[in-house]
């Protein structure tokens, strides 16, 4: 799969490199492993196999089996071991194959990683990074395709990241490892093959702020992760119809950057939240609620949500596509907010 859009807003400079999301992620790991002896990668098939999605390919050869550590299929034990190692001064990066498997380690993530600092009265920070794949779009059916990052964003004590661009894939890991508290990184499975130019001058990502990927004036498309390319495509479509859509990439799902979201909606007065999670109790629900709480008097239309259908993700291609947020649906929702059910010829009054 090739991305239709280059998600990074920065135009390609002369020294920029062609790369993929997967390679950018690997480069970030390599940099971290070189920079700090305390960093090690642990997970199922991260070593000899090269990572379930090929992210860690070649790292075993460079860093050896102690630091590129293949773990048995024991999510709870190796995630918990990562937490214990973090308590003892290490900087583990734990890889879980998919978010669905992370449920087997939920006890450790919630009851230990997110909780120890508080429960111990501030004595035990847990500087662990847990990476996992999320999302659908590859016909992997109902046990490998879900988007549960919204669940994790519910939990105080965790920082939840969703790199959606090459730059973020390359430059989110270092600040995540510098965070004294647990950080979860959700890598959308459909992004690994996205290729593009990686700006040479990009530095560590500011994890506290969302990014406006495309400025606009009529409606804010608020999204993250695997839905970002779809939202950008929708913004192109809308522009053809004379509607100027602003695209906000949340990047950090917890804590949410209320200021960036709010500023955007205060400018456009309309919001469409695009979230691959199920609609009920979703991150999109949280953002909609915050807009209602904080920006009620800025809204000129009801907030729209484009989420996954409330069904376990099906296998068949047509069904899977129908279950997920798609560009057309985002365009339609945006049009509803500006009061134009059909493609319009001019700008709204």
């Amino acid at each position: 799969m090739t991305a239709t859009h280059t998600p990074d807003a920065t135009p390609a400079a002369a020294s920029d490199r062609k790369t993929t999301y997967r390679e950018a992620m690997r480069e970030a790991l390599r940099e971290a492993l070189r920079a700090d002896d305390r960093v090690f990668l642990m997970g199922e098939d991260v070593g000899r196999y090269g990572g379930c999605f090929g992210v860690s390919l070649g790292l075993l050869e460079e860093f050896g089996p102690d630091r590129i550590r293949d773990a048995p299929l024991s999510e709870s034990a190796f995630v918990g071991a990562g937490i214990g190692a973090a308590l003892a001064g290490m900087r583990p990066v734990v890889e879980i194959m998919t978010v669905n498997f992370s449920l087997l380690a939920l006890d450790q993530i919630l009851n230990n990683a997110a909780t120890l600092l508080h429960m111990s009265g501030g004595q035990l920070p847990v500087p662990i990074v847990i990476r996992m794949t999320t999302g659908a779009g590859r016909q992997l059916a109902a046990q490998h395709s879900h988007s549960l990052e919204g669940w994790y964003a519910h939990i105080p004590g965790l920082r939840v990241l969703a790199p959606a661009t090459l730059t973020d894939a390359r430059h989110m890991l270092a600040p995540a490892l510098a965070d004294p508290d647990p950080v979860l990184i959700f890598e959308h499975g459909s992004l690994y093959n996205v290729s593009g130019d990686l700006p040479a001058d990009a530095g560590p990502v500011d994890l506290d702020h969302a990014a406006v990927r495309r400025p606009g004036t009529d409606v804010s498309l608020i999204t993250y992760g695997g839905s970002l390319p779809k939202a950008l495509a929708a913004a192109d479509d809308l522009a053809n119809g004379g509607i100027s859509a602003e695209v906000v990439d949340l990047r950090t799902l917890r804590p949410l950057d209320d200021a960036t979201i709010g500023d955007s909606v205060a400018r456009t007065h309309r919001a469409v939240v695009v979230d691959e999670g199920w609609r009920t109790g979703s991150l999109a629900a949280e953002i909609s609620a915050r807009l209602a709480e904080q920006h009620f008097y800025d809204l000129d239309a009801p907030v729209e949500r484009v989420c996954s259908a409330e069904v376990p993700v099906p296998y068949a291609r047509r069904l899977e596509e129908a279950a997920l947020p798609q560009t057309d649906g985002i365009v339609a929702a945006a049009r509803r907010t500006v009061g134009e059910p059909a493609p319009a010829t001019g700008r709204p009054g």
């Binding site: 709870s76 214990g84 190692a85 003892a88 009851n111 429960m119 111990s120 105080p156 508290d181």
Partner: protein, 333 residues
């Protein structure tokens, strides 16, 4: 597997110290019962009374550099580890001076300085953590070990088996101490395990393991020393099944409908504290007068802890959200 024999000629002073340590746990918890009954302590509180020999005996095999991971029945482990009684009592009162600043209560005692990693109230939840602490030591070449306490109930949890396998596979320096008190809350071992020989099952993971009379502090100490030496020598995880018994209810009070009164009385005859005291008295190592003085000293110590906890300040409500994430400026070492 074998039950260990005690060494003769152990120093009398050492035995007295063991008695004092066990008696501190016993008297401390007896006071906790009173305070709980008077609603000064609230929440869930799990008492260790009857199992004191395990915490005290195992602690003898640990150094200050070693780490301890414990369960929600951890007053004994914390006291044996040297966490001050004041800090524990204050924590149970929910005060600012508590060892977890009132965020944890009875089930979540922590002391980073003493490498006491809690206080885990998810059965078997502390095991992966212990493996990780040990992994870090192994990766950095530090010569210290991690001791993890858990109950027989943990054998029914996947986390125990995942961790036992991981620890043995990676030869982690971890000492696994199972406090088999025969009941997972109200469910008897025979009602929750198909194979009740726990040491045998641990041995199945390829780690040295044996069963110990958990009511005899000297036997516990011997076994723990042997096992800890093995762990320190780089022979991977060791497993000890401590056969012990809790004299009181699972959590403060229950109706004990799941076990016979006669059974409890039989185990009380093997009271680890009074058992050692009797041996010391018979060996003329402990006079009635010395015993009385010891009791008075401990009572005074606990009185001080209670008084300090009573008068300690409450955590301010403005600090409610403190310790959810680390302060921005601070970064752990």
């Amino acid at each position: 597997m074998s039950t260990t024999r005690t060494r003769p000629n152990r120093q009398a002073a050492h035995r007295l110290a063991l008695l004092e340590s066990m008696l501190r746990v016993r008297r401390f918890e007896e006071r906790c019962v009173e305070l709980y009954s008077a609603a000064r302590i609230r929440g869930f509180m799990h008492l260790y009374i009857g199992e004191e020999a395990v915490a005290v005996g195992v602690n003898e095999a640990l150094t200050d550099d070693d780490a301890v991971v414990s369960t929600y029945r951890e007053h004994g482990h914390a006291l044996a580890r040297g966490v001050p009684a004041e800090a524990i009592m204050a924590e149970m009162f929910g005060k600012a001076t508590g060892c977890s600043h009132g965020r944890g209560g009875s089930m979540h005692l922590f002391d980073a300085e003493r490498r006491f990693y809690g206080g885990n109230a998810i059965v078997a939840g502390g095991l992966p953590l212990a493996a990780g602490l040990a992994l870090a030591d192994r990766m950095t070449g530090r010569a210290r070990i991690t001791c993890c306490f858990f109950g027989d109930g943990a054998f029914a949890e996947g986390e125990f088996h995942e961790t036992a396998n991981l620890a043995a596979l990676w030869q982690l320096p971890v000492l696994l101490v199972c406090e088999n008190n025969l009941y997972a809350m109200g469910t008897a071992l025979v009602r929750h395990q198909a194979q009740t020989d726990l040491a045998l099952r641990a041995a199945g993971y390829g780690m040295a393991s044996w069963a110990v009379d958990g009511m005899d502090v000297l036997a516990v100490e011997d076994a723990a020393r042997r096992a800890a030496e093995g762990v320190r020598a780089g022979n991977g995880p060791h497993f000890l099944e401590m056969r012990t018994y809790r004299f009181r209810a699972h959590s403060m009070y229950d109706s004990d409908r799941y076990r016979d009164k006669a059974e409890i009385e039989r185990w009380k005859e093997r009271d680890p504290v009074e058992g050692l005291a009797r041996r010391l008295r018979e060996a003329k190592e402990l006079s009635d007068k010395a015993r009385g003085a010891l009791e008075d000293r401990l009572a005074a110590e606990i009185d001080r802890a209670v008084a300090a906890a009573e008068s300690a300040p409450e955590e301010p409500v403005e600090d409610l959200l403190k310790y959810v994430t680390s302060p921005v400026e601070a970064s752990p070492p």
